[in-house]
Amino acid sequence: MKKQIKLKVNGVDYDVLIKPHWTLLDVLRDEIGLMGTKKGCDKGECGACTVIMNGEAVLSCLLLAIQCQGKDILTIEGLSQNGKLDPLQDAFVKYGAIQCGFCTPGMIMASRALLNKTPHPSEEEIKRGLSGNLCRCTGYVKIIAAVQKASTTEGRR
């Protein structure tokens, strides 16, 4: 009943045995062991499971793993390079955009996809770009500010 598929996650190829109805989120977490991507609602309503697939922010709970073969999948674990935090991760830490941290990986991945497309977004664009990611702790104020800060420092990377 299980089927073997290949998934490319954070630049690494994984051969995984899956059932056809398993979501990308469940396979990332339970089969590959990447627990950074969070399961908040499992229905595409909270954004905690956001990952980047071929450059687009996607909700991994709404994708079947089987659909994701041959795609480049980036999760929160693949964001820091050579032990150095991504500027967004750095800005989230530095400017107080993290509280309980449960929405954080999804929030950072959605922000990453936004900045990749729009390197210098306006406040309005940030708000729209992150409107699918719920956070109950922060009131979003510092999250929006952190994305803005990261967008201004990134050019100097």
Partner: protein, 766 residues
């Protein structure tokens, strides 16, 4: 002294920031143990029914199922509130009392199998008449939800101070209104999750998303009938709580019981949908409020009658009801007060504590009514608040002793902010949009005195490289207390924040602690940490004094060094001092210990309400600017300001985060959030339909704090971030009142209500 701080008052990033930003921080649902099984819970489809028979045979026979448990497999323990008999079994014993009540649980090799097994459990119910409306539940002929509670009253309180009846007769102005608040949810994104591992030596290890792990520690022992010393509760990172993860729940119990039955670790992660219909909510209320004033605006008397819908079980509702009533005494001087409250059982989700615990409901009523009164009397709503604001040194009629208090200053500053906002307002704005500004004030506790264990403890271990491990029994649910407590330890020991490693709760090692609620951690645990760090400092001072040939009292700890006061050249690195202490002679193990609780507090009697329940009260004023779209009825909060008195902030960046989150949460409470139920069935058990604020609702926020310092608080600090939610709701509602001339008396203020009011369907009062 303030200027000399290295860690206190600084905008330092939180110590768990990096592991949370990288996804390395592990939450309960992320944990795995070898051989682990997965659990699921079967829930009642009926709001009220007898459970006549449960047949688990088919479920047990399903391949992959390892155990099925029901109430019959338990010792029958019922969880209860504070100083009250328990009423809530973790698995139904005879009856189910709301849709979502837990009936049975399954452990299987994976979640899918467990889910499938739930469908094979046959439960024979006998439906009973249900009552879902709290007013109907109080009727003599209403169905009884618990046999011990006539008229379904789970708790009642009657607080009376002064002479209310005579006071009203002497008032120049008296008005009465009915206010209503809807049920809302805590809204944490991490669902409840538990992992339990039982072994044959009779020990249970438990990891769960618990904001107050020692609640679970005690209840687990009782519910499993296992000695307390055999229970080990460990805290992973916690994905938000807001009061909704204090208690031990069926998910925690079932994981443990199933582990006991199977001899395997069992993890249960409930779905968000289950969180939304089968766990806790904020008490919905009906508040009849009467306020009397003299014509100069002096508050004379308040009389309140509150019906709070408690749902199916007591939870900690006795305290909720007491707080709702008692907090009419604060933040204004009120010589005469009477508040009668009824907490009523209904066949719905149980209500419990939520950010601001009971006070947001009653303060909404009081602050909105005050604005209506001010308008009718031709008084300025700000002046009326200033006139009645409590001052340092006053005692409220129920016995709250006000020590540090920056309320007057906060109202005065808010007045300046409002004047500036009016100045800044564009003169030729969109005619279809009406804007207004409203305010609200609050007072809140810094750790309530409760019956039972109330103290916080801290242990500090010093490593030979100068690193420091700090252990307390308090949890960081996101509010940043691990960082705050570490800053306190670092300040006392003259080291840097990054030198502190914070050890999260492990009941095996960390000191006993009541929990993270009532804004108690910074104030109470913070003092315990300060004392533990001072203990370390004293131990090391002895060693340093010998090495530097000085008096122990003259040893200064600063910049990761110790030196002799007045002779900074007679110094050595902190790490070297620790090595000398540990390596010389018999060697000293440097472990500091601290424990603290405010002295002289009284455990309030929930029924009469007298007693000073907190050693410090925080205060503040919230200002909200709103814009009402007269075409759509849509209300937007365009900016907010808060001027608050939290004493000396330990970390301004974290403090701002608390205030911002609390304020935006309050926007949801005021405008969009409401659990919709039909005959006990939750109709919006999803984040799509239950509308919490998103980034699009975030607005500009100005944050100021008064120049206050609390004598008892660690470095002068007190509560921050919880109390403010109390004032956000009335500030917005008063802003709408200012914009439209309509004082809404029910929250959330929906678009339909606004449009109705605009079309004159709702009588325009005042």
């Amino acid at each position: 002294m303030k200027e000399g701080y290295v860690n206190i008052g600084k905008r330092l990033p939180r110590i768990d920031g990096i592991v949370k930003a990288t996804g390395e921080a592990k939450f309960a649902g992320d944990l795995f143990l070898a051989g682990m099984l997965h659990g699921k819970i079967l829930r009642s489809p009926y709001p009220h029914a007898w459970v006549l028979h449960i047949n688990t045979d088919k479920a047990k026979r399903l391949s992959g199922v390892r155990a099925v448990v029901t109430g019959g497999d338990t010792v029958g323990f019922k969880a209860g509130g504070i100083s009250a008999a328990g009423d809530e079994p973790y698995l139904a014993l005879d009856k189910v009392r709301f849709i979502g009540d837990s009936v049975a649980a399954v452990a299987a090799i994976d979640e899918e199998t467990a889910e499938e097994a739930l469908d094979l459990i046959e439960v024979e119910y006998e439906e009973l008449p249900a009552v879902v409306d709290p007013v109907a539940a109080m009727n003599e002929d209403a169905p009884l939800i618990h046999d011990h509670a006539p008229r379904n009253i789970s708790f009642k309180t009657d607080l009376s101070y002064g002479d209310v009846d005579s006071a009203f007769k002497e008032c120049d102005y008296v008005r009465e209104d009915r206010f209503e608040t809807a049920p809302i949810r805590h809204g944490f994104i991490e669902p409840h999750a538990a992992l339990a591992s039982w072994d044959h030596s009779g020990r249970l290890s438990f990891w769960g998303s618990k904001q107050s792990p020692y609640f679970t520690y005690r209840n687990m022992s009782k519910a499993l009938n296992v000695p307390l010393s055999r229970i080990r509760v460990v805290q992973p990172y916690i994905g938000g709580g807001f009061g909704g993860k204090n208690e031990m729940f069926n998910v925690d119990f079932c994981a443990a019981l199933l582990s006991q039955k199977t001899g395997r670790p069992v993890k249960i992660v409930v779905s968000q949908e289950e969180v939304l219909y089968a766990y806790r909510q904020r008490h919905p209320t009906i508040i009849d409020l009467k306020t009397g004033l003299r014509k100069d605006g002096t508050l004379q008397a308040v009389e309140a009658h509150i019906i709070a819908d408690g749902g199916a079980y007591l939870s900690i509702g006795a305290l909720s009801l007491y707080l709702m009533c008692a907090f009419f005494c604060i933040p204004y001087r009120l010589p005469n007060m009477r508040a009668k409250g009824y907490r009523v059982y209904t066949n719905t989700q149980p209500s419990c504590a939520m950010r601001g615990h009971g006070v947001p409901q009653s303060r909404f009523a009081a602050e909105v009514q005050l604005d209506i009164a001010a308008k009718e009397m031709g008084l300025d709503p700000i002046d009326i608040r200033l006139k009645n604001a409590l001052k340092p040194g006053e005692t409220t009629p129920n016995g709250f002793k006000i020590t540090s208090c920056g309320l007057e200053e906060s109202i005065t500053e808010s007045k300046r902010i409002i004047a500036r906002w009016i100045e800044e307002k564009p003169k030729d704005g969109d005619k279809k949009k009406k804007s207004g500004i409203g305010i609200g004030c609050y007072g809140y506790v810094s750790g309530p005195r409760m019956a039972g264990h109330n103290t916080a403890g801290a242990v500090i271990k010093v490593h030979e490289d100068g690193g420091i491990s700090l252990f307390t029994g308090s949890t960081d649910v996101g509010q940043g207390s691990d960082t705050i407590l570490s800053q306190i330890a670092a300040e006392v020991l003259g080291v840097r924040l990054e030198d502190i490693r914070y050890g999260m709760v492990d009941s095996e090692i960390t000191p006993l602690d009541p929990g993270t609620f009532g804004s108690r951690v910074t104030f109470i645990t913070g003092n315990a940490v300060r004392i533990a760090a001072e203990d370390v400092r004293n131990q090391l001072s002895e060693v340093a004094a010998k090495a530097l040939e000085a008096n122990p009292k003259d040893i200064v700890f600063k910049d990761r060094k110790v030196y002799v006061a007045g002779s900074p050249d007679r110094s050595m690195p902190f790490s070297k001092l620790v090595k000398i202490a540990q390596y010389s002679g018999t060697g000293k193990t440097i472990i500091g210990r601290g424990y603290w609780a405010p002295e002289g507090l009284e455990v309030p009697n929930f029924e009469t309400g007298r007693g000073n329940m907190s050693a410090a009260y925080s205060f503040g004023t919230q200002v909200a600017e709103v814009e009402v779209d007269t075409d759509t009825g849509m209300i937007k909060v365009t900016r907010m300001a808060m001027v608050h008195d939290c004493g000396q902030p330990i970390n301004e960046m974290l403090m701002e985060g608390q205030l911002e989150g609390s304020a935006i949460g309050g926007v949801g409470h005021t405008l969009t959030e409401e659990i919709i139920r039909k005959e006990g069935q939750t109709m919006n058990a999803s984040f799509l339909e239950y509308r919490m604020p998103t980034t699009l609702d975030a607005c500009k926020m100005e944050i100021y704090h008064t120049e206050t310092r609390d004598d008892l608080g660690p470095f002068g600090a007190k509560e921050s971030g919880e109390g403010v939610q109390v004032a956000v709701v009335p500030a917005i509602v008063n802003g709408i009142y200012d914009a439209m001339g309509v004082p809404f008396k029910r929250i959330p203020v929906t678009q339909e209500m606004v449009l109705g009011a605009l079309k004159g369907k709702v009588k325009k009062e005042v």
